[in-house]
Symmetry: C2
């Protein structure tokens, strides 16, 4: 379903080119639940941004759902992304001066869903995140963990076949983290949603069925998780 082959990514800093990803290859089947771990700066978010069609690799191939992503541009890419992927950003990326519910409605708006139905679905996703009394708060009126949960709600609201979450529990207490992970496990097992999750926390990675380790822009291990958290 998701396949990266020898992905390299460089950024230009002034006149210099710095290579950050040195040939990342990974293949994920439908309904897998994969956790990605590794030290700060090892290339996890850079890889997630390529997987989420938010950034293009410098070289290498990305095949998503049978489609070579390098062949797509602009609107075509945006449509595929909206239909296929729910994305939770490490830095939340919520729209300022916009309520939680409107932030969560955004992917549904792009999908062409009518107003009444959008509002229903967004409300439901926020209730699942324990935020039913924060629907109309704007980001500056929310705690760090509440903002994080709005970002998660926005990532799951369109029920896309793939959920990509970049450190979704960094600002959450362990009880709330656990609840979020149980919900992810549920949508993976009941809806067949494929999940790619970046995390620093072993307790969170424990829910995944496969764990991929990053170091210095390369994948150093990719193994079945023999101690999957059952409940």
């Amino acid at each position: 379903l998701v396949e990266l082959r020898d992905i390299r990514k460089s950024f230009s800093m002034g006149k210099e080119e710095v290579e950050i990803l040195h040939g990342i290859s990974i293949s994920v089947e439908k309904s897998e639940f994969v956790a990605m771990m590794g030290p700060s700066g090892s290339g996890k978010s850079t890889t997630m941004n390529i997987l989420g069609c938010l950034d293009k690799p410098t070289s290498g191939t990305y095949i998503l759902n049978g489609q070579n992503i390098n062949d797509l541009e602009g609107d075509d890419l945006a449509v595929i992304r909206n239909r296929t992927i729910g994305f939770v950003f490490q830095g939340f990326n919520l729209l300022q001066k916009t309520s939680a519910i409107e932030n969560v409605e955004l992917p549904l708006l792009y999908a062409g869903m009518p107003k009444k139905e959008r509002r229903e679905r967004a409300k439901e996703a926020l209730i699942q995140m324990g935020l039913e009394d924060r629907l109309y708060h704007e980001p500056t009126q929310l705690s760090g963990g509440q903002q994080q949960r709005v970002a998660i709600a926005r990532g799951i609201v369109n029920r896309a076949p793939i959920l990509m979450a970049d450190e979704p529990t960094g600002n959450l207490d362990s009880k709330t983290s656990d609840e979020i992970m149980k919900l992810f496990k549920k949508i993976n097992e009941e809806d067949g949603t494929t999940i790619l999750l970046v995390t620093h926390e072993p307790d969170v990675a424990a829910y995944a069925k496969r764990i991929v380790h990053f170091k210095d822009g390369m994948i150093t291990s990719d193994e079945i998780n023999r101690e999957v958290k059952v409940s």
Copy 2:
């Protein structure tokens, strides 16, 4: 050194007033190392913002270093804050389009330190954070954990008597978190820096000598940590 008495804080949402802190009282002596924990939304950052002189309570008293903070305004408040407190924000609050080193120099600039010395000190703080090859990167050119470490460097660079850190390790892997906590422990024990730290992680709170629990805008427990992490 730091004393809050019956602090209440309300926010206005449209025509409504919502009380978030319902009478917070806490007293911290010089060179203490206190961790504050509690569920998402329980009022930790709101309390930290009051302690950091970034926000005023709706009622109650804040005495900092013998001075009643309610009596101070504008520039006087800013001077006291700059001289007394190093603050690490939960959301980092780095200046965009500004390099890491310039971000870290900011508190020193306000303190009137000359350019050459500022640059030296900022560089040293960033090296302590493992960021010596990221000095000239801007926030968008840094990973989440690197941005967090720039925010921490900025909080410790002026070596103020009090360090207030709001969830400083949320985006860091456990090895880096541990290194940061050992550094905090060192500045607490060697320099006598008073540390107030908000965290969701028990492994991080373990370094503190006292743990305060928040729930629904109130302090529910405040106890000596009998299992302080020695090393």
